[in-house]
Symmetry: C2
Amino acid sequence: MDESIKTDRLGAEDSTEQRIFEAARDIFIQKGMEGAKMQEIADRAGLNKALLHYYYRSKEKLFEMVARSIINRAIPVIRKTIESDEPLHQKIAGFIDFYINLINHNPFVPLFIVSEMNKHPDSFYEKIMPIGVPKPQIFLKQVEEAIERGEIKPIKPEHLLINVVSMCVFPFLGKPMLRIVLSMDSAELKQFYDERTEVVKQFVFAALRPD
Amino acid sequence: MDESIKTDRLGAEDSTEQRIFEAARDIFIQKGMEGAKMQEIADRAGLNKALLHYYYRSKEKLFEMVARSIINRAIPVIRKTIESDEPLHQKIAGFIDFYINLINHNPFVPLFIVSEMNKHPDSFYEKIMPIGVPKPQIFLKQVEEAIERGEIKPIKPEHLLINVVSMCVFPFLGKPMLRIVLSMDSAELKQFYDERTEVVKQFVFAALRPD
DNA sequence: TTAAGGTTTAACCATTTAGTTAAATTTTTT
DNA sequence: AAAAAATTTAACTAAATGGTTAAACCTTAA
C-alpha cells in the first residue's frame, strides 16, 4: 500500500522517521504534550513504540522537534508579510489573504501555538528566537504615517494589528463554537471560511476609511 | 449531615471541599485535564491527595465539576447579551463592554473553553445543553433589518458576530504573543487591555457606518 | 552464500499517578 | 466527659506509561 507523499520538506522520503514525525505531529496537535501517548503515536504510524525512542530519543525531544517544525513554518510567513515595505493597504490585504489561507490549510496550528505559548512561554520564546521574532515596527510606522496623511481614520497601530489578526485567527480557534451557536453543517462552515478573506478585508478597510 | 451549599459564588465559606475545588480550577485551567496532577492540586489546596477522592470521587468527576462551573458562568452572560432585544447598537456596545470585562477578570477562561471544545466537542455540548445554547437568531435578524433600513453597511450577520467576538476574545488568548511581538511590559499590557473596549466599539461602528 | 549493517520487534523495567483503605485525629452530640 | 460522627492522614495497590534491551529480521554487497 503506497503512502501518498506527505512531505515536510521537499524531497523527504516516506521513511520510518518521517512517518513517526507525522504521526507525532497529528497527535500532539490534537492532544497536546501530556495528552499524547507514545503508544498512540506508534499505533498511528503503524510501528512499535521502541522505534520512536530509537529515532527521537524521548517524548520531550520528539515534541520539541514537532513544535519547532510547526513554529518554523508559521513564523517566517508572518514575518515576511508584516515586515515587508509594501504600501499599507496592499500589506493589510496581503496579510489577510495569506494568513487566512495559511490557517485554512493548517486549521489546528493556531490552537497548538496558543496553548504552547500559554503553558511554556519561555521555551516558546527560545524556539522563535533563532528564526527571529516578527518585528512590526515598519507596520506600526506605516499606520501612523497614513493617519497623519489623513488616509485612514486614527487608531492606535497596535490595536489595528491585533484587530486584523484576531479576525483572521479566532474563527478557526472557535470552530466548534461556530458549529454549535450558528448551527452550521460542514458545507456551511466551508462556505463561511471561504467568504472570510473578503469579509475581513472589507470590514477592516471600512473601519479605516476616514470620514 | 448535609453538605454546605455547594457554591460557586461569593460568600462561600472556606471549606475543605471549596479549597479543593478552587485549587483544581486553577490547576486545570493552567495545565488542562492531563497536565494536571491530583497531587499538585492537593498541594495547592494544602491537603492530602486522598481528600480529593473523598470529596470528588475521581479526577474525571473533579474535572467535570470544574469545567461545568466555568461553562455555567460564562455561557449565560453571553446568552443574556446576545439574546436580549435591545436596539442593535446598544446591544453590540453592551456585548463588547460586558465580554471584554468578563474576560479581563477571568483571562484564562477562554483558552480553557476553546481547548475543551476542541478536544471533547461532544462532552462540551452536553455540558452547555442544560444551560441552553445561546441563540443568536434575534441578533442575526436585527442585523438584517438594520441593513435593509440602510442603518448599517451590508454584511453577513454571522460574520459580524464573529468579528466582534474575535476582537474581544483573541487578544487574551494571544497575550503571550502580544508581549513578545509588541514587546510590551505588564504596565503597557494593562493599558492596552483597558483601551480595548473603546477601540473595538469604535472599530466596529466605523466599519458598519453606511457610505 | 554469507557476513555486516541498519532496522524492527517483543518482552521487560522503573516510575509516575489515580485511586483505596484502615487507622488516627478532630469535632459534634448526648 | 464519653460516645458517635465527621474529617484527615499515611501507607498501600493497581494500572498506565515512558523508556530499555537483546534478539530477530531484513537488505545489501563482497
